[in-house]
Subunit: 165 residues, 2 copies
DNA sequence: ACACAAACGCAGCGATCACTGCGTTTTTAG
DNA sequence: CTAAAAACGCAGTGATCGCTGCGTTTGTGT
C-alpha cells in the first residue's frame, strides 16, 4: 500500500491522489483502503511517517561536525529523490499540522539524538532550535520550494555556518 | 475569484479544493473557471502569486540589519496568518515547482532588492543564497512544517545569526 | 478442528467532478 | 452606433468518488 501511494504521487504530479486510484495500484479493493485509512490525508501521513523512519541511520563519526555533515548529506540526498519530494509535497498539501509533522518528525528526532550524543561527550552543541533553523530549514526549503540543487558543498557550508571555528 | 480560493483553502482544511466549489464561492459558473484556469493547480499558483505580491512593501530603515529585521517580522506575520498558511500548503500540494515558485518568488525578489540597496550604499551584504538559507528557509520551514510560533524575538535572532557584530 | 473476529471484495448508490456544445451577455474596437 | 471578440452561463455527458450493506475469505485463539 505504501509503495502504491509513493508510486502514484511520483507518477502523477498534478493529478489528484484518490483512494480508488491508490487501491488499484496496490492491487486491493477501494473498500479495504476506506475502512483502514479513511481519507487520503490519513493515508499520506501514514506513508510519509514510515517512509522517513525506515532506513536512516543516525551517523556517528566521533565529532559533531562530522555527524552533522553526514546527516545533512544523507537528508539532502533523500530529499533530492523526486519520489520523496513528491510525497512530501503531497503530504503537506493535505493541510494541517499532521502531514507536516509526518514529513519532519523523524528527521528532527535524529537531529536531536546527534546533539544529545555530543552533550554526552561533554561538549556544548548548539540548541536543537538553532540547529533546526540552520540545517533542517534550508534543506527542506530548498528541496520543497525551489529547484536549486542540494549539493555536498552547500550542505557542508551550512554546517560551517552553524559551527564556526 | 482569488478571495474565493483563499476562503475555501482556509475554511476546508483537509477537504479537496475543486473548481465547482471555488466557482460557487466566487459566485460564477464553473465553466468560467475551467475555461480561464483549467486546473486547480493553475488556479492556486495564480492566486498564491498575486497573494504575495499585493501589499508587501520592501522596508527601508537605512540599515541592512533594520531592513532585514523588518522584512523577517513582516514575513513571519504574513506566514502566521492561518489563511496564508493554508494557501501555501495547498499550493505546495499541487506538486511540481510551479506552485512552490508561486509561494516564494515574490518574497525572494524583495529580499534581493534589500541586498541590492545595501550594495548601492557601498556596503558588503551576505549573498542572496546565504540570506535565503539563514532567513527565508527558517521562516517558511517553521510556518509550513511545524506549529511553533514565529515570534519577533526569534526573527531578530535569525538576523543576528546572519549579521554578527 | 472449529468458532469467531478481522479483513477483504462485490455491488450499488447518491453526489460531484471535469468537461464540452451552444446560446447569451458583456466588453472592446472602429 | 455597430460588429466582433471575449467572457460567461446553461444543460448535459461520462467518469469517478466516497461510502455502505452484505457476503466471502483469511487469520487467530482455544
Amino acid at each position: 500500500m505504501h509503495r502504491a501511494v509513493q508510486e502514484l504521487v511520483a507518477d502523477e504530479a498534478n493529478d489528484s491522489l484518490t483512494i480508488p486510484i491508490v487501491a488499484a495500484r496496490a492491487g486491493v479493493h477501494a473498500t479495504t483502503v476506506y475502512r483502514r485509512w479513511g481519507t487520503v490525508a490519513d493515508l499520506l501521513a501514514d506513508v510519509t511517517s514510515s517512509r522517513f523512519s525506515g532506513d536512516i541511520v543516525v551517523p556517528d563519526t566521533g565529532s559533531l561536525r562530522g555527524d552533522l555533515e553526514r546527516y545533512a548529506y544523507d537528508l539532502a540526498k533523500d530529499l533530492c529523490d523526486p519520489d520523496t519530494l513528491a510525497l512530501v509535497r503531497a503530504t503537506i498539501g493535505t493541510g494541517g499540522e499532521q502531514g507536516a509533522a509526518a514529513c519532519r518528525g523523524e528527521r528532527q528526532r535524529q537531529l536531536e539524538a546527534i546533539l544529545e550524543r555530543d552533550r554526552a561527550r561533554g561538549e556544548n552543541p548548539p540548541t536543537l532550535e538553532r540547529t533546526t533553523d540552520a540545517l533542517l530549514a534550508p534543506l527542506y526549503y530548498r528541496a520543497v520550494f525551489t529547484d536549486d540543487p542540494l549539493t555536498p558543498d552547500w550542505t557542508r557550508a551550512l554546517v560551517s555556518h552553524l559551527l564556526p571555528d
